[in-house]
């Protein structure tokens, strides 16, 4: 235990005496949360939808059914309806307005004769145009489609009242940014520990410090536990920075409970263990960053940090299920926003098993001695 404590103490001292290391421990998580928070968190949980209703009576009033459909869109909550005047080109109007207001480009056009067609049991088409390059469009279109389906069901008598059945994914009044922050905590834990472990190992190996340590009674496992525990503390500090920045910049208010803390610690152990294992195959410090990127990048984008896994193609969803970051971000969300403590416990267990596996394998394949 004294040897592990000595490694922990020495590496922590080295860390806090390096101004650049301290800067990046704090700056990277802040950059991450602010940048991605601004990118993904701006629209919160509302989506603009431009609507031009051309189905009017001779009196100039909107037809009852078309007005009811627009009312149904309005009633959903997430859809903010922007009415487009009847006498303009709806596409031009939307583009001009969207460019000046920053709203998303999504347009629903209800044609003249819409109510009449329904009354005569003829097909009544509406046009829904959207910018498919905007992620929010997909969500808005899904909601709009749900409203139309419900409306059709009402007209055919299958459902008694017009309603969009919405099942909240998150509890209370959480916004997208609240959903996003636990994922960023997981991401920070992963990047801090994987990069840190690989860098520490390759640098010490190149300087001959590991070889010198190999001539002492220190065991490989003690060395790994020493480094892993130090990286876990750094990950803890970085995660604290993410949560604090989230709170200050975006007023994020998620529940930090015992499960959340335990998941952060076990996640840090797991990714440090992976880093220590990878470090065996990275000989030069110059290659450490490339190796870290090769491991962290796929996990960053395939583990449901930035978008739901359901939006990924099937084969990528299968890959996501074997990526450790998926379990960490799921577990952190279960603990902090979904109030799903059995889910958090299940994810913690999986992470603990993986951490034990990688640390053990890391100790087994670590080779201090040359052949």
């Amino acid at each position: 235990m004294r040897k592990v404590a000595a490694i922990f103490k020495a590496t922590m001292k080295s860390w806090y005496r390096s101004k650049s290391a301290i800067f990046w421990t704090f700056a990277f998580p802040i950059l991450l949360i602010v940048l991605f928070g601004l990118i993904f968190g701006q629209e919160n949980n509302t989506f603009s939808l431009y609507v031009q209703n051309n189905d009017v009576y001779q009196s100039g009033e909107n037809s009852k059914i078309s007005a009811a459909l627009v009312g149904a869109f309005n009633a959903t909550g997430p859809l903010i309806i922007i009415n487009v005047p009847k006498d303009v080109d709806p596409l031009d109007y939307m583009k001009n307005d969207a460019s000046s207001s920053g709203r998303g480009e999504r347009l629903l056009v209800i044609p003249r004769g819409f109510e009449e067609n329904i009354n005569l049991h003829r097909s009544a088409n509406v046009s829904l145009l959207y910018d498919q390059t905007q992620q929010a469009s997909l969500i808005a279109v899904n909601i709009a489609q749900g409203v139309i389906d419900a409306f059709n069901a009402k007209l055919t008598g299958a459902v008694k009242v017009i309603q969009v059945e919405s099942k909240p994914l998150v509890s209370n009044d959480f916004r997208f940014i609240d959903f996003f922050v636990p994922g960023v905590v997981g991401l920070t834990v992963m990047t801090t520990t994987i990069f840190g472990s690989i860098e520490r190992n390759t640098t010490y190996r190149e300087k001959g410090i590991i070889k010198k340590l190999a001539t002492t009674p220190l065991s490989k496992l003690e060395w790994i536990i020493g480094i892993v525990s130090q990286q876990a503390v750094l990950a803890f500090i970085s995660s604290g920075v993410v949560l604090t920045a989230g709170r200050i910049v975006f007023n994020v208010n998620i529940s930090i409970n015992g499960y959340f803390i335990i998941l952060m610690i076990t996640g840090a152990l797991l990714f440090s263990g992976i880093g220590m294992l990878i470090a065996n195959f990275v000989r030069e410090p110059e290659a450490a960053e490339a190796a870290g990127n090769a491991i962290t990048f796929p996990m960053m984008f395939l583990s449901g940090i930035f978008w739901p896994l359901e939006q990924l193609p099937d084969f990528l969803q299968t890959i996501a299920k074997v990526l450790p970051l998926t379990y960490l971000s799921d577990g952190l969300r279960d603990a902090s926003i979904n109030s799903n403590f059995s889910g958090a416990l299940a994810n913690t267990t999986i992470i603990l098993i993986l951490a034990a596996f990688f640390i053990t394998i890391g100790a087994m394949v670590t080779n201090w001695k040359e052949k």
Binding site: A6, S14, K211, K212, T216
Partner: protein
């Protein structure tokens, strides 16, 4: 000095694919003595030392340190507990101070010496709070020696301890090693500096291409392979040559005009000085004793540069 062995090496071989880095070598090191492995870079010095430090397994042969077999896992633990190592191109943790580095490496052992005592021993008192990265090469090596001593080892392995140091720093490190010798430590030193081996070692093994080509005390090696003493007449030019040539066969003059004469007996020296005293022009001459450098040159036909390259 007893004859108890600290290191026993018998028919040791280490191969890397087609290369035989250590080629069937045998030698012993008696406890409380300094043994120097002398040879150029790539001769097999470090490979041999690292086998004895349990860092590399031997391909074949026997290697024992303090009576423990380097091949046995349980013996390796004992060896690591009882040896001190200063590796080649030693580095410690950059952002730890001198004291902190000694304490850090000391914590790897169940028993360790006081850091302050070690700092005083190697003469680093005024640098104890300096970060490792700010130390000069010589001071880094001194710290390396302190760290090698932190577990109060029975045996020390010093791999090229003064390589790359300037002459002043090299002599400072020598003083520390001489101090260890006086304290009765067994030291296995590898070096490519002939002078270092001659000054510090009780016994020298000259290694070339993985083989020990000669072994003995510096005096034994010099008297066996070094040849005779030489009389050098600085600036003697043709005057000295003319005086000596009728009486001696091996008289040579170099391009600087310095004349050298091989001497086999004391009588020859007396005779030469008497002859030279007849000239009023000749004012300066010296008797040069053969060194390990002469021995190495005789045995291998090469000289070793300061960088450790055999030419």
């Amino acid at each position: 000095m007893g004859n108890e062995l600290a290191v026993e090496v018998k028919s040791l071989i280490k191969t890397y694919s087609a290369l035989r880095a250590v080629n069937d070598i045998s030698f012993n090191i008696v406890r409380d003595t300094v043994f120097a492995f002398l040879g150029p870079n790539g001769a097999g010095k470090t490979t041999t030392v690292e086998i004895l430090e349990c860092l590399k397994p031997p391909t074949s042969g026997v290697a024992k340190v303090l009576g423990y077999n380097v091949r046995s896992r349980s013996d390796q633990k004992e060896i690591r507990r009882k040896i001190g190592v200063l590796p080649q191109e030693f580095n410690a943790v950059d952002r730890l101070t001198v004291t902190e580095n000694i304490e850090f490496f000391g914590d790897m052992f169940s028993r360790r010496l006081n850091a302050e005592d070690l700092i005083n021993l190697v003469g680093l008192k005024d640098k104890e709070n300096e970060l490792f990265k700010n130390l000069s090469g010589g001071l880094k090596q001194k710290l390396g020696l302190a760290i090698a001593l932190v577990n109060d080892p029975e045996m020390l392995f010093l791999d090229e301890p003064t390589s790359g140091l300037d002459p002043t720093a090299r002599r400072e490190v020598w003083r520390v090693i001489e101090g260890l010798k006086k304290r009765g430590k067994t030291v296995f030193l590898t070096t490519h500096y002939m002078e270092e081996a001659q000054i510090l070692a009780d016994k020298v093994g000259i290694i070339e291409n993985g083989k020990i080509v000669a072994e003995g005390t510096p005096d034994e090696l010099i008297s066996k392979y070094g040849g005779v003493k030489m009389l050098i007449i600085n600036g003697g030019s043709s005057v000295a040559t003319d005086l000596l040539k009728p009486h001696f066969s091996k008289v040579q003059m170099d391009k600087n005009g310095d004349v050298s004469l091989h001497l086999n007996t004391k009588e020859e020296l007396t005779k030469a000085i008497l002859l030279l005293s007849k000239s009023e022009v000749i004012r300066e001459f010296e008797v040069k004793r053969p060194t390990l450098e002469t021995v190495y040159l005789k045995l291998t036909g090469k000289k070793v540069t300061d960088e450790g390259v055999a030419q």
